[in-house]
Structure formats: structure tokens, C-alpha cells
């Protein structure tokens, strides 16, 4: 497994192999043609390449997404990420009476919360009304006072210094303005408040991206003049910068890799499509997601889709015939500054030199 180095914090590279259940309820039907034509959100990169991503149906209503979500509660990858995030609350001595949960895999966070972190008031926010409604309907734990709200991470409608904790599980990577969103989160936090986020990292599906370049389809990239940066997702080295630029104190970055096995490449495409569809941010950020997908599968039409899938299957299938896809998740933690946080001293204000320390503890070199 390739080593991934991180500048900030510790790096854990764990390979978890999760069995991916086939989605019987939503079989990929090759006879439907999907297209991403339609309004691209403001910002984002403009796609000059003529290759359109024909993966998902733009006429698919938002209601269908919520329905899909309710049928597929057991997305183990999403649950694992939410669980990891929520676990961190137990590591803190602090309790967080009010918490804001931002979209992405809202449902998983709400379901797995289980009174961790001393949360008394929970506010769920997502850009999709249907998504919020289905979360409200699914609420089975009445011990935490939960409010629901439809809102946009890039235009956070939350007053400054009003919440103790902000959690976002697999949601922020689809925002066009990630630094801006993070700054708004920081502003919304009370002093000594915590920001916890999980985003997909640039190594996600890297293997698949690299294959795509090696494929004959790579000529599209050269013709289209797309930048060599393969993925519009954040790199690990960016994550630390993002946290400091947003003004968080005590930033921490962790990386995890999840290897999800799919029965076939078409299942992978279907899962991506569904993840994008159920992620309400997608509706606004079609440009970003479709760029991501197009860089993985530069698929012009159904025939090419099937041919590409066949190539992946033949090249990547493991002994048991499944194909593995890597999802890199970057966990970011940051605190809103508070007088109790250790601060770096001003440059030149040191009163002890390294030589002194060396003498004190005895030379070892």
C-alpha cells in the first residue's frame, strides 16, 4: 500500500475491507441515458472538454434520493466514517451542549450519535428539504432536542459564537468554496468550540483515475486541455492549511483509507452516482462532482461505459472477482480560539536555547 505522508498530526493508514452489498433496489439500467447537462453552480472549474458525464439522470427528483437513502440505511462505508468522527467526542473531556450537524451523511451521524459528547441540542442542516424531512421522520431518539433546518454550508445562516460543536461527515468536499465554508463554521462556533469534519481526500479512487489515464481514453484529457491535477478533492497537505487559514486553533488532520470491494465496476459507478445523488450538495455542485466522475470515467455513452467497466473488471478484479476501490477520508479537527489554548510564542521571544536543553538532558547524539 502506498505510503501517504501528512504534514500535520499523525497519519494512520488503515485498510479496511468492507463488503459492499449489491443495491437490488436500484439496479443500474444501461438502457437509460443519464446526462449532467443543466445548470452548473457558480464557481467551480468550467469544463471545456466535450465529454459529458452520462451517469445520472438530471430529471431524477430529489424525492427519489431521499427514498433511496431510506432503503439503503446500511451503507457501511458512510457509517464507519460517521462512527470514527463521533468517537472523537469521547476523547474530549469537554461536553458540547449545542451541536450543528452539516449535510453529507447526516442520517448516519444522527443515528450513531448515541448521547456522545454530552450533546443536549442538535441542529441538523442540509441543502435538501427532502433529506431533512427524512431525517426528521427517522428520528428515534427523543432524548436530544433536535431542530431541523435547510441551509447552505457556503452561506451558513448561524449566528456568530452560537454553537459548541460543528460536525460534517462527508459533506464539505462537494462545496465549491471549502475555505469559505470552514471560515463560516469557525465564526459560528463559540470560543473553545470544536469543528469536526470528514472529507474525501484526493487519493480517493486514485487507482481508478490512474488507470483512466493509461487507457486510450486519456487522449481526451490532452485534447481537452484539462489540468494535470486529477481530482478536485482536497489533498492531505491542503487539509492542514485549510484549518489554519480558517483560523482554527490546535488543528489536527488524520487520514484513513477504506477499500470497498464492488462486485463489478458498474456497481462502483452506481454507488458513486448514488452517493452524489443522496448528497444534497451535489445539486448545487454538479460541476465539481461531474468533473470528478469524468476524470474517472470519461464516458460518452452507454457503450463506452460498458467497455470501460469491462476494462476495469479485467484489470482490477481480485481473486474472488470483486473490484476494490479506495476511498481516502481526511478527518479534520479544529478548535475555536480560547484563552486556555496553548499559543505559539512570538518569534525571538525564546528564553531558553536548544543548547541549554541539550546540556540539561545530556547529549545523546
Amino acid at each position: 500500500m502506498r505510503r501517504i505522508d501528512s504534514v500535520y498530526g499523525r497519519v494512520e493508514i488503515l485498510k479496511r475491507v468492507l463488503e459492499k452489498p449489491t443495491k437490488q433496489s436500484h439496479a443500474f439500467s444501461a438502457s437509460r441515458s443519464f446526462s449532467t447537462e443543466g445548470a452548473y453552480g457558480g464557481g467551480g472549474e468550467s469544463q471545456q472538454n466535450s465529454s459529458r458525464v452520462k451517469i445520472f439522470d438530471r430529471d431524477l427528483k430529489r424525492r427519489d434520493r431521499a427514498a433511496w437513502l431510506s432503503r439503503n440505511k446500511n451503507d457501511t462505508f458512510v457509517d464507519a466514517v460517521a462512527e470514527n468522527l463521533l468517537d472523537r467526542l469521547e476523547d474530549c473531556k469537554k461536553s458540547f451542549p449545542s451541536a450543528l450537524c452539516l449535510g453529507g451523511s447526516l442520517g448516519a451521524v444522527q443515528r450513531l450519535l448515541r448521547a456522545r459528547g454530552g450533546i443536549e441540542k442538535l441542529i441538523m442542516m442540509d441543502t435538501s428539504h427532502d433529506m431533512i424531512k427524512s431525517c426528521r421522520d427517522a428520528q428515534d431518539d427523543n432524548s436530544i432536542e433536535t431542530s431541523y433546518l435547510v441551509g447552505d454550508e457556503e452561506f451558513l445562516p448561524i449566528k456568530e459564537s452560537s454553537v459548541d460543536l460543528i460536525i460534517s461527515s462527508l459533506g464539505l468536499h462537494w462545496t465549491n468554496d471549502l475555505p469559505g465554508s470552514m471560515i463560516q463554521c469557525k465564526l459560528a462556533l463559540k470560543p473553545d468550540g470544536l469543528f469536526l469534519a470528514a472529507i474525501l481526500g484526493g487519493e480517493t479512487l486514485k487507482f481508478v483515475l490512474e488507470l483512466r489515464i493509461a487507457c486510450t481514453l486519456a487522449h481526451m484529457e490532452r485534447e481537452g486541455g484539462i489540468s494535470p491535477r486529477l481530482s478536485p478533492l482536497a489533498q492531505v497537505r491542503d487539509a492542514g492549511n485549510l484549518l489554519t487559514r480558517a483560523g482554527f486553533s490546535l488543528p489536527g488532520v488524520d487520514v484513513d483509507e477504506y477499500v470497498v470491494k464492488y462486485k463489478s465496476a458498474l456497481d462502483l459507478i452506481e454507488h458513486l452516482r448514488a452517493m452524489g445523488e443522496t448528497n444534497a450538495l451535489l445539486q448545487r455542485n454538479k460541476a465539481k462532482f461531474s468533473i470528478f466522475l469524468s476524470r474517472i470515467f470519461s464516458i460518452l455513452n452507454r457503450e463506452t461505459a460498458l467497455a470501460t467497466a469491462a476494462i476495469y473488471d479485467s484489470m482490477f478484479a481480485t481473486e474472488d472477482g470483486t473490484i476494490p476501490a479506495t476511498f481516502q477520508v481526511i478527518y479534520m479537527t479544529g478548535w475555536k480560539e480560547h484563552s486556555s489554548h496553548p499559543q505559539a510564542k512570538r518569534r525571538g521571544s525564546a528564553t531558553v536555547s536548544f543548547t541549554d536543553i541539550h546540556k540539561q538532558f545530556g547529549g545523546q547524539s
Partner: protein, 78 residues
Amino acid sequence: MVRISRVMLKEAGNAIDKTLSEILVCPLSKQPLRFCEKTKSLVSDTIGVSFPIKDGIPCLVPKDGKILDEDADASKAS
């Protein structure tokens, strides 16, 4: 019309719950919002936009906002 709003108030208690009313601000101007009884929406006076409340859930995405006319009557929330 008046009958309907009375029913809604009875059912919903406050149109939006107390927690939200304390922390919500306009997504664009970050200024406080005002709850408008007539249209059951949250109004941001600074920029003259009203945000609907659908099914008891405030929708504060910028694209859902309705620009208010200069007249007293705000346009109906959809």
C-alpha cells in the same frame, strides 16, 4: 386566511422552535431575521429577502429566498 394561520399556530406552537430562533441569521447578511406572521416566513430586513418555512422547517438557502417588493405585502412564500 386568518383561520388557517390560527390553526398552524396551534399545531406548531411557535412556528420555529426556540433553539433555532436564537441562532438563526440571514445567510447572506448575517443579520437577525424577523418572523412574519402573514406569510409564515423569515424576513431579513437588511437585504429585503424572505425565506420560506416549509413544513415547519426553515429553508435558508439563498436560492429559496424571495425578494420583497417595496409594498407592505410580501409575496407569498411558495
